[in-house]
């Protein structure tokens, strides 16, 4: 068993290296208690729905979410008819038709969320040269994940701290690398009116949209963890049986 312990210890040390790779880039994040963290954590669907509202009414003016089909929202509790109605609210380019022309049609749940700009250059031209990143995977594409998104959205300071020389059109943010970001402080108190009556503080909006973006980056998060619990329970029982049989077998050796 000692050898086994050594093996486990070496594996643990080796894995520590991966953490080290990320620690080198850490900034101080305002860490939140997410209902979806931990082994049994699941996405807070009500929060994710509110977060979708924030995305739709605020973020989507500049940010695309090009990898996410509208039907994905079934995972946070949207019903079929709600999805159809929601999708129909978007205009999607289709075609070519019999005359060889592209045309616009109402969206379907199978369509992906339409992007606000036709291409990156158009996005830059409209945003003072800055490219608003696609949000499909943003919760997995930043060190700190949803904590980073929350800290970023609540981390604007206006006016910028003394001694910071902001470039024209830039805004000061505590956690953004370099602290100068093209995006303005967009979340405002009561910037959205939540259908469920939740008070829309900046912190609430940031938390909701971070939950939503975690969901769209990892739509199978709940399913994955639930399967994981079953798999590990199964393996623990199997390991117990294997160990008992091994002990019994080897005890016959003398």
């Amino acid at each position: 068993m000692r050898a086994l312990k050594t093996a486990i210890l070496s594996a643990a040390l080796a894995l520590g290296l991966a953490g080290a790779a990320q620690a080198s880039e850490a900034v101080h994040l305002d860490k939140q208690n997410w209902p979806h963290s931990g082994v049994f954590g699941t996405i807070d669907k009500a929060a994710a729905q509110r977060g979708f509202q924030v995305y739709k009414e605020v973020c989507s003016a500049c940010h695309s979410m090009r990898l996410v089909p509208i039907r994905t929202l079934a995972g946070i509790g949207f019903k079929d008819d709600e999805l159809k109605a929601l999708a129909a609210g978007y205009e999607v380019q289709a075609g070519p038709n019999d005359a060889g022309e592209m045309f616009m049609r109402p969206g379907l749940p199978a369509d992906r969320f339409p992007s606000p700009f036709p291409n990156d250059n158009a996005a830059r031209a409209a945003n003072n040269g800055a490219l608003p990143p696609d949000l499909s995977l943003i919760a997995k594409a930043r060190v700190g994940g949803e904590d980073y998104i929350y800290s970023f959205l609540t981390g604007f300071e206006d006016p910028a701290p003394a001694g910071v020389n902001l470039m024209p059109g830039m805004n000061y943010n505590k956690v953004f690398p370099g602290h100068q970001v093209g995006m303005p402080n967009i979340l405002q108190p009561d910037g959205v009116t939540y259908a469920d009556g939740t008070k829309a503080t900046v912190e609430q909006e940031a938390k909701d949209v971070s939950t939503f973006l975690t969901f769209v980056a990892e739509p199978h998060l709940d399913e994955r963890k639930q399967m994981g619990v079953k798999v590990i329970l199964f393996l623990l029982v199997l390991a117990g049986l294997m160990y008992a049989s091994k002990r019994k077998l080897w005890s016959t050796l003398h």
Binding site: A7, L17, A20, Q22, V39, K140, L235, M242
Partner: protein
């Protein structure tokens, strides 16, 4: 003249086949009756674990390849399609991505076990050399696999690593052009990396078969490092070792599952969820964790060609390890001085790995240089010299004597 071989199997079909192609006799001989030293500990399970990980990787990789597109404009999105829309695609991909790390963990433990117990010494030199070649091919396969999702780290990792070859005079640039299939990392690079990433695991499978064949010629080493003297020193592989290895595999899978289901992106880099962009360089380009010690060696040398030679040399010298170690005693249990240097080497590997993840400047660069120096010093100076100077402890007469009587010399290795 052409007479079917006699076969001992009762099942007529098995008997018919075996007398024409004695594959069942071979399997029976190699996996039922194969004598394993009875004192092997759980570190000996990591060979079997590594073999199973190779099978897991080939199986998941096959189904991922059915859904993946190896074109720069489609690769990133096709991986996301696997994650979102393919049935259990997220599971396949997370098992494959974390499986690579788990495969390396198993192989690193397997290698350090070989180093500690002197498993590379005569008559197991070819067995060890095949293992080093497997390690090299694994590294190439893993590197090319990491390029396939075509994220930022894929692209920039590929750029940095392929550019290493340009350090060689005269042949360097043509090699890089050949690797790229052009004059920059682009679509032809991705295409050939995908083709090679699909091919190399089967090369690995062949090498693993050779590795196992070489193992079964001289038999497994054991913690005492002395050869079994007869049946009292061994147990038949099946059921004794199959059950013991089976238990170890299940425990290993628990750790594996914990990563796959609860922290699937822990061992990856967030930048790889950003599509590759040749115009934007990430702040820190870091390879996957299993390459970090070698990356630290590469960056520790101030000269590019020197760094590349040191990095490849650090692996190449493992090929001649059986001749660098001059001690006749295999197991560190009986080498009181070398045992301590073994642990320094293990720590050195971890320190180099940590330094490889840090920016190559200031004290981390110094630490990486000290670590690099020790690595080469250990293999090129300590091993040859210690074998001559060190006075090993007396070896037990036989495995069964040491195991059954708890012989005074069979101290647990943690006493070091």
């Amino acid at each position: 003249m052409a007479q079917a071989q006699a076969s001992k199997f009762k099942n007529p079909l098995v008997n018919w086949i075996d007398s024409r192609l004695p594959i069942f006799t071979m399997l029976d001989h190699e996996y039922n009756h194969y004598p394993m030293p009875r004192n092997v500990n759980y570190l000996w399970a990591f060979g079997a674990i590594a073999g199973i990980m190779l099978v897991v990787m080939i199986a998941t990789g096959l189904f991922l390849a059915m859904q993946y597109s190896s074109h720069t404009s489609l690769a990133f999105d096709s991986v996301e399609r696997i994650m979102r829309d393919v049935n259990y695609g997220w599971l396949l991909r997370y098992v494959h991505a974390n499986g690579a790390s788990m495969f390396f963990i198993a192989v690193y433990i397997h290698m350090f076990r070989g180093l500690y117990y002197g498993s590379y010494k005569a008559p197991r030199e070819i067995l060890w050399i095949l293992g080093v070649i497997i390690f090299l091919v694994m590294m190439g396969t893993a590197f090319m696999g990491y390029v396939l999702p075509w994220g930022q780290m894929s692209f920039w990792g590929a750029t940095v690593i392929t550019n290493l070859f340009s350090a060689f005079p005269i042949v360097g640039d043509p090699i890089v052009t050949l690797l790229w299939g052009g004059f920059s990392v682009d679509n032809p690079t991705l295409n050939r990396f995908f083709a090679l990433h699909f091919l190399l695991p089967f090369v690995l499978l062949g090498l693993v078969i050779l590795h196992t064949a070489a193992l079964h010629v001289c038999g497994s080493n054991n913690p005492l490092g002395i050869e079994p003297k007869g049946p009292q020193d061994t147990v038949p592989f099946n059921p004794y070792v199959t059950l013991k290895d089976g238990f170890a595999v299940v425990v290993f899978f628990i750790v594996f599952a914990a990563f796959v289901f609860f922290m699937p992106n822990y061992m990856g880099h967030p930048d790889n969820y950003i599509p590759a962009n040749p115009l934007v360089t990430p702040a820190h380009i870091v390879p996957e964790w299993y390459f970090l010690p070698f990356y630290a060696i590469l960056r520790a040398i101030p000269d590019k060609l020197g760094g590349v030679i040191a990095m490849f040399g650090s692996i190449a010298l493992l090929l001649v390890l059986p001749w660098l170690d001059t001690s006749k005693v295999r197991s560190c249990k009986f080498r009181p001085i070398y045992r301590q240097f073994f642990w320094i080497l293990a720590i050195d590997g971890l320190v180099l790995g940590y330094a490889g993840a840090m920016p190559a400047e200031g004290s981390w660069l110094l630490i990486a240089r000290i670590g690099t120096f020790y690595y080469f010093f250990h293999f090129l100076v300590l091993l040859p010299v210690l074998g001559k100077l060190e006075r090993p402890l007396p070896l037990p007469n036989s495995i069964s004597e040491a195991v059954l009587k708890g012989g005074a010399h069979a101290k647990p290795m943690e006493k070091a």
